[in-house]
């Protein structure tokens, strides 16, 4: 398999890099405090993880329904065609996120202090 020597080295390096990045993010993770939702790069709202709630993000033709329950957040329903945001599942740790590319919606968990208000809408 001498022919594939450098190919093998390359693939090994990629796997190693992926493992290191994953390990780093696993070790540095911490419980999140609230979910920050941005639409189109602009802040849409912030919702604490310790309060159960249901938010209709966007509201109009392009929407994502965000549910917060038992310290976890997930997208339950969405207008996007691929529904990838629903498949991305539940988030609870600092830095985890659910991203809906068609609706340009990002919901990310932020750690540290809770926001001053329960919800800040635009």
């Amino acid at each position: 398999m001498k022919r594939y020597k450098y190919d093998t080295i390359f693939v090994m390096a990629v796997i190693l890099a992926a493992a290191l990045i994953w390990l780093f993010s696993y070790l540095t993770r911490s419980e999140g405090a609230y979910v920050r939702v941005t639409v189109n790069g602009e802040l849409y709202g912030e919702y604490p993880l310790n309060t159960d709630t249901k938010v209709n993000i966007g509201g109009g033709d392009s929407y994502n329904i965000l549910i917060i329950q038992g310290g976890e957040a997930w997208i339950d329903e969405a207008s996007c065609p691929d529904k990838l945001c629903i498949k991305q599942g539940k988030i609870r740790y600092d830095g985890q996120s659910v991203i809906c590319l068609p609706n340009k919606m990002v919901a990310e968990v932020i750690g540290g202090k809770k926001p001053e208000f329960d919800a800040v809408v635009k």
Partner: protein, 168 residues
């Protein structure tokens, strides 16, 4: 330096671009979607790998970029265009460099293309969505890009060998 395109070259460009588009379309038809956006096979890359080895660097660039532009006209929007363009350009550059070193087989070049395609897209998404958090997807995208790229490179390698024999 600038020479006129021969009829054969024009036919090659057309054939390869059409083939790349058909492969993109086939992939688009396969109802496969993983939890992480960006995990995909990248069938069209077979054509680009082939072009890189058998036709030449400008051909590979033209075919790849034409595919992105034409597929956008048919199925995409401006957002998807920037997104696929960033992946296509970065993977082309990386595959070209890997080919130039002369140390990698098409399998390695394909893997490099898959990995760099995903890196390009995630960088682009980080810029567009203004979030650094996407970096958390990087491990899975690196692995899936390498895996898909290996398959593509292997397939491309077979085509390169077989067609080389036919042509002589």
């Amino acid at each position: 330096m600038k020479k006129k395109l021969t009829g054969k070259q024009i036919a090659e460009y057309g054939l390869m671009t059409a083939l790349a588009m058909v492969l993109s379309y086939i992939e688009y038809l396969i109802p496969f979607s993983a939890a992480v956006p960006g995990v995909k096979l990248g069938l069209a890359n077979i054509v680009v790998v082939f072009a890189l080895y058998r036709l030449g660097v400008p051909q590979a660039f033209v075919i790849s970029l034409l595919r992105v532009v034409l597929m956008t006209f048919m199925f995409g929007n401006a957002f998807a265009f920037i997104y696929s363009l960033s992946g296509a350009v970065l993977s082309l550059c990386v595959m070209l460099l890997m080919r130039r070193t002369g140390r990698f087989s098409p399998v390695g070049v394909g893997a490099g293309g898959g990995v760099s395609h995903n890196i390009g897209q995630i960088l682009c998404a980080m810029l567009l969505l203004e979030t650094k958090r996407l970096i958390y997807y990087l491990p899975i995208l690196l692995i899936s890009g390498a895996a898909a790229g290996l398959v593509i490179g292997f397939t491309g390698g077979i085509v390169i060998e077989r067609l080389a024999k036919e042509q002589k």
